[in-house]
């Protein structure tokens, strides 16, 4: 059995925000939620998408930090900024391809998801992936995912010319072995897949 890892399946998300609330219970950042729950376009769809820190193998946020405030642990977890070092410049906020770090003006510091380090380093699951009712977020072994899920977990992302590998996996269709933003087809203008009015039209 391999070690447990973090898997995201956006198609399962029901937008309930249990993850957002549970994150605020984490002892390292009590009262402050570090996970983002994106509402894609509420007018058109109920689709939502949770976004935790992907914990890049080569974390861009840390590379661009002029104060060397963002540390990567030996197990690959990328921590929130260190308070004594963070200068609040927001370089990391701009650089992150996943839009994860956030600058908090009232404490003049960047904070972000730290993989629930207090929990995961003690053998527990991260809060969000523990409570998630739909298992859009799940912390389990690769074997368990392969046994129970269709699709394939990938941790390779292509953003234009840049390739990013991450500690966190995302479920994609079987046919894909990486997620390339260029391969995502733009929506046809005027087409609304989730439009109930168009479903009610009789024509095929």
């Amino acid at each position: 059995m391999s070690e447990r890892a973090f898997f995201i399946d956006y198609s399962r998300c029901i937008g309930c925000k249990a993850c957002v609330h549970a994150c605020a219970e984490c002892d390292t950042h009590r009262g402050r939620s570090m996970i983002h729950l994106e509402t894609i376009e509420r007018r058109d769809t109920v689709q939502t998408a949770p976004q935790v820190c992907m914990h890049c193998h080569d974390p861009i946020c840390a590379r661009v930090c002029p104060a060397d405030a963002i540390k990567q642990m030996p197990d690959g977890v990328v921590q929130s900024s260190l308070k004594p070092r963070c200068i609040g410049c927001s370089n990391c906020v701009i650089a992150c391809p996943f839009g994860v770090p956030k600058y908090y003006g009232e404490i003049d510091q960047m904070m972000k998801c730290d993989y629930c380090y207090d929990r995961t380093s003690a053998g527990k699951k991260p809060m969000c992936a523990t409570v998630c009712p739909s298992e859009a977020l799940v912390f389990t072994t690769r074997e368990d995912i392969e046994r129970r899920r269709r699709g394939r977990p990938v941790n390779q992302f292509h953003f234009g010319g840049e390739e990013v590998r991450t500690k966190v996996y995302v479920m994609v269709p079987e046919t894909m072995d990486a997620l390339d933003v260029r391969s995502i087809e733009p929506r046809t203008p005027g087409a609304h897949d989730d439009d109930v009015a168009s479903l009610l039209e009789e024509s095929e």
Binding site: I14, E25, R43, V131, V196
Partner: protein
């Protein structure tokens, strides 16, 4: 005299609702608990296992409980995550209150408050007869308390008129299950959902109202299952369904009978099962003959091809699971809707086996257990029938009263309000319910309450209804007491006590026993603990349909719950019903019921051209008395809204976020518009968790199902128009109190 004793603004100022946003002492207070208490969420019928962190007699947080089978892994929805914030709450009532005209309430001593309630019960009953005093109870109580309320009404108050708020929730499902199978319980454990090849979800917004059930459905799809969803709105689970049918509110029988028509035509019917194990098929076959896809589609308001596609998924599947909830139950034909759905289960013979069956998704915390042991107008403990002479004799003997002293069937919930409106009911004692948010036709319900000569309320917060009380008795939260509930699967589970009630508040069962003592029935209410009550109800239920005799608290803890029926102490319980091939009726056979579609009580017309349907959101629980007081939940959805399609919005000249006034023949609300493509253009949706001028129930119709007496919350006729802003007095209150942001 149950009119408001002061202005709403003054009452809100003193008693809330206001939100509690952080654990005791704030987020920087020590978060290490003295102990963890393994218990369950106090909210919906999923009853998720959770560990409460307790420090200095306060609940300070939670820790997931990972190995409980139902919400396996420690799953929780946002209500479960934040439930602990209702404890140690600034709005908590800690003294009995007496109404003071023009001022509000004054604190009074417990003995005075109890004496006053009993004196009023006696006075009203002496003047107007025993049944002029009614009890309204609720399904978020433990089963011990639900049993106690039924016994209290019949033995101590000696009134026929007790009913519970499950009448407003899912009683249509209960009635249909009893008619078809003879037993009112989900037929399967939830693990069967994931083993089904076809899953049909009829009128259940699972992602929001039963979030934990989502994973069971997603897992069925990972295993290759096809998902059919009937809903006027594209809900989070409908979004990726294999067949989403955006049915017109009230048109469900079109889809269900139409599916059966196609299945008969294509030969997807189990005729040997029907012959051997059921009655009544011929009438059903005859009835659905005319429900061709085209005919059915007109009723359902959807393209015929969707009905055919649904039949093509459901018909040939080897295993299947039906889930239904309020969307088909909250109708003046709610029972018929459920019967039509259950016909699809019976016609295929797919029940009583692994991956084959059905369930109604109970809404309230103890929606199942709260309707089994006698707080229902027509029922005695063990799901016995109050009209059946054997059942009456059995329970009267058990309680040590004469059978002729045991009242007959009483009025249902809304009928009790109607009787109060007409002056036939003069006094009510209410616990665990907030009808001035949750009852249909709000103005009528308020008038009914206002006409009472005496109104007593047991609650932990001053709910919108409790504001009208003559006497308020401060009761207890789930975490302050112990006792069992029965989850959505029929699994009896145990809530452990985490903390004591705050000084001044008391546990509900002691309040009831003290009232019984003062009413002269103390010898029948000598309980020293909830476990004493459980021991009595367990024996009372023996031999009944909902037989708890073999269930003990120790067994529940050891086995992560025990499914009823459990008739003997060495019985393991019954997770899957009907596995032995027998159904619950005396002859062991199930019953088909032929169902014809009929219109809703109030269809649209030129004056009121839109259908209003109401429901819940994930962040709130029922009338919102608790969830509107929990900061993170209230923050997630601070106020109701009127959801409408862009096509309708364009016609009305409304943009997203604009104020709209929604009016029916009974009342009006002003809320903001939420313009989305995920709803039918002929339908608007308003969630119902808010009070006063934001109450969706200002609009709803007081039409009841003739069998279940459930109100038609899911269909009424309204009109909507853009307005510059609200013109009501409560708009400036905090949103948790009914204001607008």
């Amino acid at each position: 005299m149950a009119r408001l004793p002061a202005s709403i603004a003054d009452l809100v100022e003193r008693y809330g609702p206001r939100t509690n946003d952080a654990p005791p002492g704030g987020w920087s207070a020590p978060s290490t608990p003295d102990r963890l208490v393994k218990t369950h969420c106090c909210f919906c019928g999923q009853q998720c296992a959770i560990q409460l962190k307790v420090r200095d007699n306060h609940v300070i947080g939670f820790e997931p409980w990972e190995d409980f089978p139902f919400n396996h892994g420690g799953k929780l929805c946002p209500k479960g995550v934040n439930r602990y914030l209702q404890n140690h709450h600034p709005d908590r009532l800690t003294s009995p209150l007496a109404r003071v005209e023009g001022e509000g309430f004054r604190e009074i001593a417990w003995s005075d408050a109890l004496d006053r309630v009993v004196a009023e019960i006696r006075r009203i009953q002496a003047a107007y007869g025993n049944d002029a005093f009614a009890i309204l109870s609720g399904s978020s109580l433990t089963t011990e308390k639900a049993y106690l309320m039924g016994k209290f009404a019949r033995v101590a108050v000696r009134t026929a008129n007790i009913d519970y708020n499950g009448r407003l929730c899912m009683v249509s499902a209960a009635a249909a299950s009893k008619k078809v199978f003879g037993i009112d319980r989900a037929a399967n454990p939830w693990s069967d959902i994931s083993k089904a090849e076809a899953v049909l979800v009829a009128g259940a917004n699972i992602g929001e109202c039963a979030p934990i059930t989502t994973e069971y459905i997603w897992q069925s799809r990972e295993n290759g299952a096809k998902l059919i969803v009937l809903d006027p709105r594209m809900t989070p689970i409908a979004r990726s369904a294999d067949c989403f049918i955006p049915v017109r509110p009230g048109g469900d029988i079109g889809v269900l009978n139409g599916m059966l028509h196609v299945m008969i035509e294509r030969g997807w019917i189990d005729r040997s099962f029907i012959a051997e194990r059921t009655h009544g098929w011929d009438a059903v076959e005859e009835t659905v003959r005319k429900y061709t896809p085209e005919y059915a589609a007109k009723i359902a308001g959807v393209p015929a091809k969707l009905i055919v596609r649904a039949a093509e998924i459901w018909g040939p599947a080897r295993t299947s699971f039906l889930l239904h909830a309020r969307g088909i139950e909250h109708h003046s034909k709610g029972v018929e809707n459920c019967l039509a759905a259950l016909n699809l289960v019976l016609a295929t013979g797919r029940i009583g086996r692994e991956g084959c069956g059905y369930a109604m998704i109970t809404g309230q915390g103890n929606g199942q257990g709260g309707r089994e042991h006698g707080q229902k107008a027509d029922q005695l403990p063990g799901a016995r029938d109050i009209g059946n002479s054997d059942d009456r004799r059995h329970i009267a003997d058990f309680w040590g009263i004469r059978e002729n002293e045991l009242p007959q069937k009483g009025l249902s919930y809304v009928e009790i309000l109607e009787a109060a409106h007409e002056g036939r009911v003069k006094g009510i004692l209410l616990i665990c319910s907030n009808p001035l948010v949750s009852a249909p036709d709000h103005r009528f319900a308020r008038e009914a309450i206002e006409r009472l000569e005496f109104f007593g309320v047991i609650d932990f917060f001053l709910s919108e209804t409790a504001r009208h009380a003559d006497v308020v008795l401060p009761g207890s939260l789930m975490e302050e007491d112990e006792g069992v509930t029965t989850n959505v699967e029929g699994r009896v589970i145990l809530h452990q006590k985490a903390v004591d009630p705050p000084p001044g508040a008391r546990v509900d069962w002691q309040i009831i026993c003290d009232l019984a003592e003062r009413l002269g029935a103390g010898d029948k209410f000598r309980f020293r603990s909830p476990r004493d009550i459980f021991e009595e109800l367990r024996v009372a239920s023996k031999g009944g349909i909902a037989d708890y005799y073999g269930i003990t608290w120790e067994k529940i803890i050891e086995n992560h719950g025990v499914f009823w029926p459990c008739p003997t102490l060495d019985h393991p319980g019954t997770p899957r019903l009907y596995a032995e091939g027998r159904f619950g009726h005396a002859d062991g056979k199930a019953r088909f019921h032929a169902v014809e579609w009929r219109p809703a009580a109030e269809e649209t017309d030129d004056d009121y051209p839109l259908v209003l349907t109401t429901g819940r959101v994930v962040a709130h629980y029922l009338s919102g008395t608790q969830s509107r007081r929990i900061g993170p939940l209230q923050g997630q959805t601070p106020q109701p809204y009127c959801e409408m399609h862009p096509k309708l919005a364009e016609r009305l000249g409304v943009s997203d976020g604009d104020f709209v006034r929604v009016e029916s023949r009974r009342g009006a609300i002003t809320v903001r518009a939420l313009v989305v493509r995920t709803i039918r253009p002929d339908t608007v949706f308003v969630p119902y968790h808010w009070p006063v001028d934001r109450a969706a129930n200002n609009l709803t119709v007081r039409a009841l199902d003739p069998v279940s007496r459930i109100p038609e919350y899911k269909v009424c006729a309204v009109r909507a128009r853009k307005v510059p802003g609200p013109d009501d007095a409560t708009a400036t209150l905090r949103p948790e109190a009914g204001g607008l942001v």
